[in-house]
């Protein structure tokens, strides 16, 4: 077993373990932090796969952006007292059903991946960094997709702000009361 294999299995363990924690944990905060480790593990994998730019992006965007966003969501939609932070599965039947589907998919995909005869074309020449090629491609071959992605992000930004903001205006009274008498307000539809 060479070093590469050792590092691979280390990262694989981190990913699978923390991923299992994400899906099984009853505490949302624990799940969120477990997700952070999964993402770090994946960033390691990317680095192993010679995609240094993606590895950095993974850490910056996922861990620094998306995960923080998710934690903000958890904070905004849960009682800080902690009781509500714990959340369980939706029912035993569904739990078993979901588990069965997951196992079948995992096994099926694994079988598929192992039995397939991949035409492997490993990259021989290892570049100093892939960032140069990526930047070049984005501004030539993928310029349109790049711009559309920019627009998509803008739309997502505006849409998210609008969706979250709109009801605050309508329910301005309700949201002001919400702090003190949260349970008393019944919202219709």
């Amino acid at each position: 077993m060479n070093l590469e294999a050792v590092i691979f299995y280390l990262f694989a363990l981190i990913i699978v373990a923390s991923g299992g924690l994400v899906v099984l944990s009853k505490n949302i905060m624990h799940a969120a932090f477990a997700l952070m480790f999964t993402l770090f593990g994946l960033a390691g994998f990317y680095a192993m796969l010679l995609s240094d730019f993606l590895a950095v992006s993974q850490i910056m965007i996922y861990v620094g952006g998306i995960l923080v966003l998710i934690i903000f969501g958890v904070m905004l939609t849960s009682k800080i007292t902690g009781v509500e932070l714990k959340t369980g599965p939706i029912g035993k039947v569904n739990y078993l059903f979901g588990a069965a589907i997951s196992v079948i998919i995992a096994c099926g995909l694994s079988l598929l991946f192992t039995n397939s005869k991949w035409i492997e074309k490993p990259v021989d020449k290892i570049p100093d960094s892939s960032i140069n090629a990526i930047g070049y491609s984005l501004l030539t071959e993928y310029i349109l997709v790049f711009e559309v992605a920019a627009v998509l992000l803008l739309i997502a930004l505006i849409g998210a702000a609008l969706i979250a903001h709109k009801d605050q205006i309508i329910d301005s009274d309700a949201s002001s009361n919400e702090i003190s008498t949260n349970n008393d307000i019944k919202i219709k539809e």
């Binding site: 699978v16 995609s51 993606l54 939706i90 589907i101 997951s102 998919i105 991946f113 492997e120």
Partner: protein, 102 residues
């Protein structure tokens, strides 16, 4: 055994299955969202793995990059929707949000 394409793919398959499990079984909408992120990352791992071993080269990395972009946009919108649900229902339990039924 030398570490190759298949190893990465199997990890991604496990990650994918876990994401599905989270989506199907978890009650809290934010955990469902996390499951979704796991699935996206599994897909991303596949892209990168093929970029390294399958000859996709930089194209695979760019695809992964766009997946990350879309994931960011998606999670922003999803969280705002969850916030909205919370304002209306005072909880974010997906199984209790079933007005679609009627």
């Amino acid at each position: 055994m030398e570490i190759g394409l298949t190893h990465y793919l199997i990890v991604s398959a496990i990650l994918f299955a876990m994401g599905i499990f989270a989506i199907i079984t978890r009650k809290n909408a934010i955990l469902v969202l996390m499951g979704l992120e796991l699935i996206l990352n599994a897909a991303n791992l596949n892209f990168i793995a093929f970029a390294r071993y399958g000859g996709l080269n930089v194209n695979g990395e760019i695809a992964a990059l766009f997946v990350i972009i879309i994931a960011a946009a998606e999670s922003a919108v999803a969280l705002s929707i969850i916030l909205n649900i919370y304002q209306n229902y005072h909880h974010v339990n997906v199984d209790e949000v079933e007005t679609l039924k009627d």
